[in-house]
């Protein structure tokens, strides 16, 4: 979608700026980065992201990369994952990590919060059924502990179970023994992360990014 000519068009930048909320300089910087990652092609593939060295040691690397290729995050009505993305999608995903602007109303703040939490939720809900099941949650915890070797596996299961129980008891309250808790829905997800100020924590300082200080 939206492949660009090699010379960035000012008009296109402006539309992007309006859509994602970045400033023009930030878009230019990110475009440079995009071109560097995609080796000057129009689209980015998973392998391009996998070449980033610093990303190697990140335990949730594959999930991060997947998030870039997940149509749910493109703010269009798509589902499923794609093989390659253009600059517009790249920018859209990046826009989830913007800081909230200085003067913002309560509803806008709430909206931003929901959008960011939705992004997180999509990262966990891999089969796109609208809930994070126990299996998916276990997978998340296992990935987080994946660097710890063998001792992680059983404890990961225990931790995920405990966490799930906590969500269930917070969201649903006392349950009779034969009721079944399907999984964490988005509303429950919002509830358990109520204490964490997502809109301020989930941001990258795009302000003083220098295009020359790029990692390989």
């Amino acid at each position: 979608m939206g492949s660009f000519q090699s010379l960035p068009d000012d008009h296109q930048y402006r539309t992007l700026s309006q859509k994602t909320g970045f400033s023009l300089e930030q878009i230019a910087i990110l475009h440079n980065r995009f071109k560097q990652l995609s080796q000057n092609e129009e689209t980015l593939r998973r392998d391009d992201l996998k070449t980033i060295q610093d990303l190697e040691s990140n335990p949730i690397r594959s999930q991060i990369i997947e998030a870039f290729f997940d149509s749910r995050n493109f703010q269009k009505e798509g589902v499923g994952s794609v093989e390659e993305i253009g600059f517009e999608e790249f920018l859209t995903v990046m826009s989830y990590f913007r800081a909230p602007p200085q003067h913002i109303t309560e509803e806008q703040r709430e909206e931003m919060r929901r959008a960011k939490l939705r992004f997180l939720f999509n990262m966990h809900d891999t089969d796109n059924d609208g809930t994070i099941t126990l299996e998916e949650y276990r997978h998340v915890v296992e990935e987080l502990l994946s660097r710890s070797g063998a001792l992680g596996r059983e404890t990961a299961k225990g931790i995920a179970d405990a966490a799930m129980l906590e969500v269930a008891s917070i969201s649903v309250g006392p349950m009779a023994p034969d009721e079944f808790y399907e999984g964490i829905t988005f509303e429950h997800f919002l509830k358990i992360l109520n204490g964490v100020e997502i809109e301020t924590r989930m941001h990258i300082r795009f302000l003083n990014m220098d295009a020359t200080v790029l990692c390989k």
Binding site: L30, R33, I52, D54, L55, S57, N58, I60, R61, I64, F68, M94, F97, P100, Q102, L120, M123, L134, V140, V141, L144, L145, R147, S148, G149, T155, I159, D161, A162, A163, M164, L165, E166, V167, A168, S169, V172, G173, P174, M175, P177, D178, E179, F180, Y181, I192, L193, G195, V196, T200, M202, H203, I204, R205, F206, M209, A211, V213, L214, C215
Partner: protein, 768 residues
């Protein structure tokens, strides 16, 4: 009659002559350091004393001077603690007036009393304050400092601490000098450098006072860490300015080189202090790695290393407070991974105890010193000081916030600014620093002292008392009391990794990138050195989970319940609710409607309660003598129970039923069942009833066979409990109706769905 004795500390008093000398205590105060100088030269025991005459052997004698020093110290500590105790027994007062105010008032009273008696009230001697009273408070603060918030707000805190304090000092000092010059005759001798020195002393926000007041008002963590962090970090600035001005005040001149050297000195003092603290922290962590065999002295290492860090920093005139904070913060993660749980509790409680006592003593002594100290009241000076301090603080905070907000994501609102400005309390550190001034170099020392005391009183009383209603009035966000949940922990870690990953994708070496690098370095090298054994590899999430489980297990034990299994689970939801449903095995059981099931369960429960009361009185004697029972019934019961238990156990363990054993063997098998929770068998004659709590984690606990269907009282699901069934032979005994009752009841109690359903019934076993 005077008694004199030799006071060499090591030798015992062997002899007493009959001369007593009254001591004139030096005005450095009774009961404080240095009083060992009160020794008098030892008198010869026998010999050239012409006053010596033989007395009968003294059976009882009064010898106060012997123990004077420790006695008086203990008295003060006791007084402080009793005061603290007293305040909390009077609820209304303690909710209006902060503790520090009350303590100062007590100090004033005590000082007044002492003065009335005619003695010299002791003054808060600086050496004692800095060496004995201050370190516990700072260590307590440093050891339990929330590192995450501190580092996130470090830039802001440093701005307030360094730039804010500098601004305050120069503003107050400069304006005071102007006022002194304007005033004319009385104050003209106060020169610029002295004023600047005074300004630098008084502008430092005091950690003791801040802690004392802020702890009671429970504001949100951001504000707390901002004000508190500022009060800790401004120590370096204060030390440098103090020494700078003190050095040169006699000369009366400061050149540019001196200023430059001052800046260098500041860097050395602060960074040096941190380095010294970090070194001692690492040493402590390393030592704790080997303490697994001597758990008892583990807390001692923590305390002694920290104290040494403080003293070592003081040797070089570095910032002792920063050394102490660095030491505590550095050693904590490693030490806590190494030491036992009891040591951890010990450290926590000792630190809290010491800091609490220190805190109390400091405020009491402030009150006493006010009564004691030489005062020189000068209306202009004091009032000017007060006004300038307040104005400087407000202007400083507002100006700095304006600059800081440009760089912050979470902006500081004007409410926050007000609290920060209002929370800038002065305290005992300022007082002690003025007290240290040499009266020869600083003839206006007493005036300074008076002014400082006034400012301290004002901030502690007025600001301390009004901050609580103001916080409520302004609806400042309070501290959230929620415990950290495991979900938050998981998602916070996830978020950290996510942000690091995004930063890497952007090519931006940001905040998260370096933090991640530091964490990895920590995990790879540092933890291996400093943490003993397996725990060095334990990732944070697992450590957190274990800690949480431990905490809940301890809570469970403390709350006296043995009825619930200790687990990290809230009890409203159990594992069955979230386990994916297995396809149900075919069971020949009637499916009961929920309402009916509830009804049945209620019946069972009520019967169980009644049965319980009956059963409680059963013991080996009464059972036999019980008019309802006779030997034959007993035997039947016994046999039935054995059969049931076998059957239940078979189902539970999913093994084929063994041939019916003699009751002894069956009992033995049950006794060795690790899941059995209940009584050991009392005698041969009493049937052993064991209540098995099938673990909620085992979805394999199969439901029992269809004997239940006859009674129609089968609870459908495996709620994890005793699913003993009612044996069919019960039906055969219908003819023995009067006897049937207790047996039926016994049966019924056995078929109760299990302890998970009712909580309070289950904390006693069925049979005594």
């Amino acid at each position: 009659v005077l008694i004199v004795y030799s006071l060499t500390s090591k030798e015992d008093v062997l002899f007493r002559c009959t001369v007593r000398q009254r001591y004139i205590s030096p005005d450095t105060g009774t009961g404080h350091g240095g009083s060992h100088g009160n020794k008098d030269p030892g008198y010869a025991k026998n010999g050239n004393g012409t006053t010596y005459s033989k007395k009968p052997f003294p059976v009882l004698s009064f010898d106060y001077e012997h123990v004077r020093l420790p006695f008086e110290i203990s008295l003060w500590v006791l007084l402080a603690s009793l005061m603290k105790l007293g305040f909390h027994l009077i609820p209304r007062v303690s909710s209006i007036v902060p503790e520090s105010c009350l303590l100062i008032v007590v100090g004033l009273l005590v000082g007044g009393l002492i003065k009335l008696v005619g003695e010299d009230p002791p003054v808060l001697e600086s050496k004692i304050f800095f060496f004995y009273l201050l370190p516990p408070i700072i260590l307590d603060a440093g050891y339990f400092m929330p590192i995450r918030q501190f580092t996130e707000n470090l830039g802001t805190i440093l701005m307030f601490a360094v730039v804010g304090t500098l601004w305050n000092s120069f503003f107050v000092g400069g304006l005071l000098y102007g006022v002194c010059q304007l005033e004319g005759h009385k104050l003209a001798y106060v020169d610029l450098l002295s004023c600047l020195l005074f300004g630098s002393i008084i502008s430092a926000v005091d950690p003791v006072a801040v802690l004392a007041v802020f702890e009671e008002i429970h504001i949100n963590e951001l504000l707390h860490i901002l004000v508190f962090g500022e009060s800790l970090l401004n120590d370096a600035v204060t030390v440098v300015l103090y020494h700078l001005f003190e050095e040169y005040s006699s000369v009366g001149l400061i050149t540019v080189t001196d200023v430059f050297l001052g800046i260098v000195c500041f860097l050395v003092v602060s960074l040096g202090g941190i380095v010294v603290g970090a070194i001692y922290g690492i040493l402590a962590a390393f030592t704790s790695r080997f303490t697994s065999h001597t758990r008892v002295i583990e807390p001692l290492f923590v305390f002694v290393y920290s104290y040494m860090a403080y003293l070592s920093a003081e040797v070089f005139h570095l910032s002792g407070i920063m050394a102490l904070i660095a030491c505590g913060a550095v050693m904590r993660p490693y030490v806590e991974a190494n030491i036992s749980h009891k040591s951890h509790t010990t450290i926590k409680y000792f630190l809290k105890m010491w800091s609490s006592v220190s805190d109390t003593l400091i405020f009491i002594f402030l009150g006493v010193s006010t009564v004691a100290g030489p005062h020189q009241w000068n209306w202009t000076f004091v009032v000017a000081t007060l006004i300038f301090c307040l104005v400087a603080r407000v202007l400083g905070v507002v100006g700095l916030t304006f600059v800081i907000n440009k760089f912050r994501i979470v902006k500081l609102t004007s409410k926050d600014q007000f609290i920060i400005a209002y929370g800038g309390l002065r305290g005992a550190i300022a007082f002690s620093l003025v007290y240290l001034l040499n009266p020869e170099h600083f003839p206006m020392r007493n005036m300074f002292l008076t002014a400082i005391i006034t400012v301290i009183f004002f901030t502690v009383f007025v600001q301390g008392m009004t901050i609580r209603p103001l916080v409520d009035l302004l609806a400042v966000k309070k501290k959230q009391e929620t415990k950290r949940s495991i979900n938050e922990e998981i998602h916070t870690q996830f978020l950290d990794h996510l942000l690091t990953g995004i930063e890497d994708i952007c090519g931006h070496y940001g905040h998260h990138h370096w933090k991640d690098k530091l964490n990895r370095f920590n995990k790879k090298y540092v933890k291996k050195c400093l943490i003993a054994g397996e725990r060095s590899k334990e990732p944070q999430l697992i450590a957190f989970y274990h800690k949480m489980e431990m905490k809940q297990a301890i809570e469970l034990v403390e709350s006296g319940g043995g009825s619930k299994l200790p687990s990290a689970l809230p009890s409203t939801v159990s594992m069955q609710n979230i386990q994916p449903k297995k396809p149900s095995q075919d069971r020949a059981l009637p499916q009961l409607s929920k309402a009916r099931e509830e009804e049945i369960r209620k019946i069972l429960r009520t019967n169980l309660q009644r049965t319980r009361q009956r059963l409680r009185s059963y013991n080996r004697h009464t059972l036999i003598a019980d008019p309802y029972e006779d030997g034959w019934n007993e035997m039947l019961i016994k046999r039935k129970k054995m059969k049931e238990l076998e059957k239940k156990m078979n189902n539970y363990l999913t093994v084929p039923a063994p041939p019916p054993d003699s009751p002894t063997i069956a009992r033995a098998r049950l006794a060795s069942d690790p899941q059995a929770w209940g009584l050991k068998s009392v005698t041969e004659s009493i049937p052993t009833i064991k209540v098995d709590l099938a673990s909620p984690q085992s979805p394999e606990s199969v439901n029992v066979v269809d004997e239940f269907s006859k009674k129609g009282s089968q609870p459908k699901e495996e709620e994890g409990g005793l699913t003993m069934k009612v044996p069919s032979p019960a039906k055969q005994r219908k003819d023995k109706t009067p006897d049937e009752e207790p047996q039926q009841r016994l049966m019924r109690c056995l078929s109760d769905p299990g302890p998970a359903a009712e909580e309070e019934d289950e904390d006693e076993p069925f049979l005594p």
